[in-house]
Symmetry: C2
Amino acid sequence: MSDCNALPLVILAEKFARLPGIGMKTAQRLAYYVMSMDDNDAEEFAEAIVNAKKTVHNCKCCQNLTEKEICPICDDQQRDKSVICVVEGPKDVTAFERTKEYNGLYHVLHGLLSPMDGITPEQLKIRELLARISEGNVNEVIMATNPTVEGDATALYIANLLKPLGIKVSRLAFGLPVGGILEYADEVTLYRALENRNYM
Amino acid sequence: MSDCNALPLVILAEKFARLPGIGMKTAQRLAYYVMSMDDNDAEEFAEAIVNAKKTVHNCKCCQNLTEKEICPICDDQQRDKSVICVVEGPKDVTAFERTKEYNGLYHVLHGLLSPMDGITPEQLKIRELLARISEGNVNEVIMATNPTVEGDATALYIANLLKPLGIKVSRLAFGLPVGGILEYADEVTLYRALENRNYM
């Protein structure tokens, strides 16, 4: 933004530009749009940011994002507590829930192993997964990480930790396009991949 | 966002989705991204929104956005106060300033006439433009609205108001974009370029 612009606007545009997939041009457009919003709407927008950050944290059990101590899925007595579906992030939980076919629990790793980026097992929620399994009620763990190098490596790493414990470990079927991103898979593809999972 | 998500996150995603050019999927991604930000960064983002809304308003003179009473362009004694370039919005001012060739003042209409959308002259900053001109120092007004139906109509409407006052009114030239390829120009542009040809 050229310096003919008001400084607070330049600052706001820079904040928008830090968001993923938003370039400087779009960020400027968004900053101008905020200026055209009602005072009320703008304040509510700002509050929504602060509020989400303040009240949302990881579920004590599955590590998914929630504003409660235990998320509604872990807390749901109708769900099958003997199956845990291990995913990279919260948006993957949303994707599975959209299939309406999975009735087990989840475990959110908050990342994938990636030695190149310095992401080691300690930085993922693997310890928490092992703790859940040590409680004894789990029969099967479904590795539902993306079909990418990092996703496969993470699945294999966790499978190798769990198999000695006598846990059935499965992997999503490669109905998913290889190299694709789980979050964008359509419901049917995702359901097929779940149904045809292969035991490791 | 499915209801397996924390409510504050759903609310935040809905706020993002109201921004222009941001669909629900991108809005969800942005909401998740906010969750991964430092507490500090998220708060600064929220503050930037509130702060821009609170401190930035229209320049008393040209109606461009500024945090001062009079914007730096109107306040600049080096600029030619006898020429006013009339534009649709603040981003058009930025575009002209980028050329580094224009040394006059601006007037921001904050919209274009559009009877279909219920936008009438009273909703644009036309009264403020007439007030500036009535002060007497203006020789020329350049109508720099977009070459669209609304932009042309607005330019014509204002030109008809100003000409009886003895003000020179001009319109941006329309023709081929510099560096453009003739074969890809649309018919109307090419016709304008032909009509407004300059003799060498």
